[in-house]
């Protein structure tokens, strides 16, 4: 099975609100000093989903990332996890891609690469939180998409996926080629072994630029980016010597406030 996984590097999404800063010029978050960009969390789960298939079925996994030079690091991370090859899509002309332009460049790269059976993406990246690129690639390639997938099974040529619903889940049968966006319930991403990390560090990662792939014009324009106000954060701490005392005081306080 030929699997393509699309991954993105983003600022660490777990940065606490108090440390979060914006650069009004570039309309981007400022990376706190010393921090590196990380692989977007759901994308890493998509890699894990691909590796789970490879565990039981002879497969080749190609990782694609649209990003700056530094995105080589996350591609190498995916190779160290067990993926077979990676391609970086990088060009100043790709830099300000919105969901549309990103999906377009990725879809063109997938076409250029040639054969594929299954494309996997994270359900949503943690920077712009748009959740559109996966479905977009599927539309552009004219293949079906299944979103928020938490399990993939391939048995005798039948591909069965489980996806989340708001009040449960649904089991669907998907003809290949197809695209799936993966949710975190698929399971924790595996750790790369030391040997794999060493191997990955030696692998060549080709870079495709606007020479190879025509960029697309974004459809949405970012007018402004700002930090919203959440009002005055004023926490009243319940101070008592014992935890039981705190529980009692908390319950009383909530009762006085007519909340319970």
């Amino acid at each position: 099975m030929n699997i393509v996984v699309c991954v993105k590097e983003i600022p660490d999404p777990e940065i606490p609100a108090s440390a979060f800063r914006l650069d009004p010029e570039s309309k981007r978050a400022i990376l706190p000093g010393g921090r590196k960009l990380v692989i977007s969390d759901y994308d890493e789960r998509a890699v894990e989903a691909a590796l789970k298939i490879k565990d039981s079925l002879d497969s080749k996994i190609t990782v694609l990332s649209l990003g700056r030079e530094s995105a080589q690091d996350i591609i190498r991370h995916c190779l160290a996890m067990g993926c077979d090859e990676g391609i970086l899509l990088s060009d100043p002309l790709f830099d300000d891609s919105d969901s549309f332009a990103t999906a377009f460049v990725l879809a063109e790269a997938i076409k250029r690469k040639g054969e594929f059976d299954l494309i996997l993406c994270g359900r949503q990246e943690g920077e712009w939180d748009a959740g559109q690129v996966g479905s977009g690639i599927a539309e552009l390639l004219g293949i079906p998409s299944v979103t928020t997938v938490v399990n993939i099974e391939i048995r005798g040529g039948r591909v069965v996926m489980e996806r989340l619903l708001w009040d449960g889940h649904e089991i669907v049968e998907v003809p290949l080629p197809a695209l799936a966006t993966v949710s975190s319930e698929i399971g924790e991403p595996r750790y790369p072994t030391f040997r794999k990390v060493r191997e990955a560090s030696k692998k060549e990662i080709p870079v495709w630029t606007s020479q190879e792939i025509t960029p697309a014009k974004p459809q949405n324009r970012l007018l402004s980016l700002f930090i919203p106000s959440h009002g005055e954060g004023k926490c009243e701490f319940i101070e008592e010597t014992s935890p039981e005392g705190k529980a009692t005081r908390l319950a009383m306080t909530l009762r006085e406030a007519k909340l319970i």
């Binding site: 999404p13 108090s18 979060f20 969901s99 549309f100 999906a103 949503q124 943690g126 920077e127 712009w128 939180d129 559109q132 479905s135 977009g136 539309e139 552009l140 079906p144 998409s145 299944v146 979103t147 928020t148 069965v160 619903l165 009040d167 449960g168 889940h169 649904e170 089991i171 669907v172 049968e173 998907v174 003809p175 197809a178 949710s183 975190s184 924790e188 014009k217 974004p218 459809q219 949405n220 324009r221 970012l222 007018l223 980016l225 700002f226 930090i227 926490c235 009243e236 701490f237 319940i238 935890p243 039981e244 705190k246 529980a247 009692t248 908390l250 319950a251 406030a257 909340l259 319970i260």
Partner: protein, 348 residues
């Protein structure tokens, strides 16, 4: 809008819940009404499904709509990306709306991106504010980004309709006005079975004990620090006593301590209880994104530096395992001596 007659409708993709209009659709009608009035446009709602009750259309009109499209054949009994995208693509060709809005729900999250790419237009998902740009007449779409640490405002420069999905519970619905009059149009996109490439084999609904999370007035929410399914049993006990519901952060759902449908946040549910008690969770912005409205937040966490305390109204710095049993006992006693008003009896 566009000074183009074709683009004189604002269309909402309606959703039903147990046959009735879902709250997100009422919220969309409120925003849609404001936008349509500003543009002098017609506000329409489209319902796709099978055996849709005629009351749905009149209800959508009472809630602020001018027009309702009904797409109702057995093919649309269950939601499928392929059939719904094709149906709405066909409606778009017929109606040519200027603006197309969906809810940021299970359906909208799946349908809106595919539809936007099919229609070759720009979509902004999970919006919390929608308005008309005075200068260009375009739809201004504001949404949280960076997990909610920042907000971004977009306009779509290329393509029509201008599309957005709206986050649940950020807009209060309009009051019903049963005297409103409107038009109902039945629309048949003439699709056949072959449109659906993906086939549904089974749909499984998870039973949630107690109140429904989305409508609950009190929510007891657990995070990574709860540590096990047994820990959640205790949270369920507290929720039961308070007539509330249990929620979780992403970690307990990833670890399968509770079903995924318990998850609150950016990729989970949006809730607006009057009281939220968060236990052993750090208060990541992606989690807090799921708490909307005028909610009193209580946090129990052993780390005084936890981010949740910067948003909480009441904080307890301690091990939840020591606080929770006493809190359960205390609440049981309080509840058995009456509800918050003091004099009326408890429902149970």
């Amino acid at each position: 809008m566009d000074r183009n007659m074709d683009r004189s409708e604002v269309v909402i993709v309606g959703e039903l819940e147990e046959g009735k209009i879902a709250s997100i659709t009422a919220e969309l009608l409120t925003v849609g009404r404001t936008l349509a009035d500003e543009l002098n446009a017609t506000l329409s709602t489209v319902f796709v499904g099978n055996q849709i009750s005629p009351e749905v259309a009149s209800e959508a009109i009472s809630l602020g709509g001018d027009k309702v499209y009904i797409i109702d054949t057995p093919l649309f009994k269950d939601y499928l990306t392929d059939t719904y995208v094709a149906a709405l693509e066909s409606l778009d060709r017929e109606v040519k709306p200027g603006i197309l809005l969906l809810g940021h729900t299970t359906l909208g999250r799946d349908l809106a991106p595919s539809l936007a790419f099919r229609l070759k237009t720009g979509l902004t998902t999970d919006c919390v504010e929608l308005s008309i740009d005075a200068e260009t007449g375009c739809l201004r779409k504001t949404k949280p980004v960076y997990g909610g640490n920042a907000w971004a405002t977009y306009v779509c420069d290329a393509g029509h309709p201008h599309m957005a999905t709206l986050r649940a519970k950020v807009i209060p619905p309009l009051k019903r006005d049963a005297s409103r009059k409107g038009e109902v149009v039945h629309f048949d996109p003439q699709l056949d079975e072959a449109t659906a490439r993906v086939k549904v084999i089974d749909r499984v609904r998870e039973e949630m004990p107690g109140a429904r999370l989305e409508g609950a007035n009190i929510i007891v929410c657990g995070g990574r620090g709860i540590g096990s399914p047994e820990g959640f049993k205790q949270l369920e006990e507290l929720a039961r006593i308070l007539n509330g519901a249990v929620g979780c952060t992403r970690i307990p759902s990833d670890n399968k301590w509770v079903p995924a449908s318990y998850q609150i946040g950016l990729t989970g549910k949006v809730v607006s209880p009057s009281l939220y008690i968060g236990m052993a969770l750090s208060g990541a912005s992606q989690h807090l994104a799921g708490i909307s409205g005028n909610t009193t937040i209580v946090a129990v966490n052993k780390d005084p530096e936890a981010n949740i305390f910067s948003r909480a109204h009441y904080g307890v710095i301690d091990d939840y395992q020591k606080v929770l049993p006493a809190l359960i006992e205390e609440c049981r006693q309080l509840r058995s001596s009456g509800s918050p008003g003091g004099d009326d009896k408890l429902e149970e």
